[in-house]
């Protein structure tokens, strides 16, 4: 079947089967490989994107369910001149990534949090990231980056 999506503001289309996952479609049909597949079992959140403004795990949604939807991916998080967006820059400034595998999902989850809650507390950030796993950073620097991206003072976080 033919699928059309608006991805990061641009209309894109391609061919899919019933079983084609949104993550597969983005990566293999549209060539947008910024969305990562970590577990493929809805545990890790590396594949997080927004569908009609809502954060979802793209490995656990059929692209047919998203036909006609507005999708945002990590590729849309940079500024139009190609420089890093606010959240991305904060991750770089605060060393919020090491291998970077989880980062696309972390940034998309953070963006969704900040849209609803522009000044989250540390506890709210940690709660919101429950579905995003990072095997490298120990999370502290990710929390700091999101604090900074929301324009708040970056706290000394617990257990440092």
């Amino acid at each position: 079947m033919k699928i059309s999506l608006t991805v990061n503001g641009k209309t894109m289309s391609g061919e899919a089967e019933g079983r084609t996952l949104l993550s597969t479609f983005l990566r293999e049909e549209l060539g947008l490989t910024g969305t990562h597949i970590g577990c493929d079992t809805s545990q890790c959140g590396a594949c997080t994107v927004h569908v009609n403004g809502k954060q979802v795990k793209s490995c656990t949604m059929f692209v047919a369910e998203a036909d006609g939807a507005d999708v945002s991916t990590i590729e849309g998080m940079a500024n139009t001149d190609g420089s890093l967006g606010v959240i991305q820059q904060a991750f770089q400034d605060h060393h919020g990534l090491q291998c970077g595998f989880c980062t696309p999902g972390m940034v998309m989850a953070a963006a969704s949090l900040l849209e609803k809650n522009p000044k989250p507390s540390e506890a709210e950030i940690r709660h919101h990231l429950e579905g995003n796993i990072c095997r490298c950073t120990g999370y502290h620097n990710i929390v700091k980056a999101i604090m900074a991206a929301s324009g708040q003072e970056v706290p000394a976080v617990a257990a440092e």
Binding site: M1, E17, G18, R19, L21, D40, T41, S42, G45, T48, K54, Q55, V56, K57, T60, M61, F62, A64, E65, A109, S112, L113, H128, E130, G131, N132
Partner: protein, 261 residues
């Protein structure tokens, strides 16, 4: 995953017709179904998406009853079930934000995972499960782990929850899966207290009737201090023994009652 035919009807009648095919199955949020299809534990020939049926989504309240459409995502219940705060709080604790944006009440109740949250709320509230064909009382609906009163091709179109005077859900989270290792939902109505337990029993969600009697006579955590929960039918796995779960049932019931005050 094996391929299948995908259809997305816009009415319940069309969905029911599409489900008449052999091996057709409803698809709601997909948060349970897609992982099981990837593991080839489930291989429908056709998936009938319920997410395009506007009538199945939404929360409304009237005459002391909160009604939730069968395909309403957990995040919507968390945000809009303010008239039944314990239910909204339960929905807001399911999984993580992405799971709550997709997963739905109908999918959760149809699946009846022994560790799922909603079954405890439905049973403790004496809710009514509404389908395309009939209305089923929660007491008749849950029939053991992953087993319900639903017939082949029957769709949950909504759930009606009588709103209690006070209620609370205590979820003892299994931190890796974020499901309930054990969860207890206590609801106090004018005609008595109901206590439903999830995550603990090999038979799935159940009512702890001894606690209900004690709490109906005296709604305080002390009322259950003399009771014990038999561990014979409790789940035992690497996360907790049967005795541990039996103890959790009592501890969490006490906490839920205390939180109602």
């Amino acid at each position: 995953m094996y391929n299948f035919e995908f259809v997305k009807p816009s009415s319940v009648d069309e969905a029911v017709a599409a489900l008449r095919d052999e091996d057709a199955q409803p698809l709601s949020g997909g948060q349970t179904l897609i992982p099981t299809m990837k593991q080839r534990l489930n291989q429908p020939s056709k998936l009938v998406s319920l997410t395009g049926i506007a009538d199945l989504v939404g929360v409304s309240s009237s005459g002391g009853v909160l009604s939730v459409g069968g395909a309403t995502p957990h995040a919507t219940v968390a945000a809009e079930a303010g008239d039944y705060p314990a239910l909204a709080a339960l929905a807001g604790q399911i999984g993580d934000p992405a799971v709550r944006n997709r997963g739905t009440i109908g999918g959760s109740l149809a699946n009846n995972d022994p560790a799922a949250c909603y079954p405890s709320a439905a049973l403790a509230s004496g809710a009514t499960i509404v389908t395309n064909a009939r209305e089923i009382a929660a007491d008749d609906y849950f029939q053991g782990m992953f087993t319900t009163a639903l017939d082949e091709g029957e769709i949950i179109t909504g759930v009606k929850f009588p709103i209690p005077q006070a209620a609370n859900y205590q979820k003892f989270e299994q931190p890796a899966s974020r499901f309930a290792l054990t969860g207890v939902f206590v609801a106090k109505y004018a005609d008595g207290v109901r206590v439903a337990v999830t995550g603990a029993s090999n038979d799935g969600v159940f009512r702890w009737t001894e606690a209900e009697e004690a709490l109906s006579a005296n709604f305080s955590p002390n009322a259950i201090s003399g009771l014990t929960v038999a561990s014979d039918d409790m789940i035992s796995d690497l996360h907790g023994s049967a005795a541990y779960r039996a103890n959790l049932v009592k501890v969490l019931t006490g906490r839920a009652v205390a939180a109602c005050a």
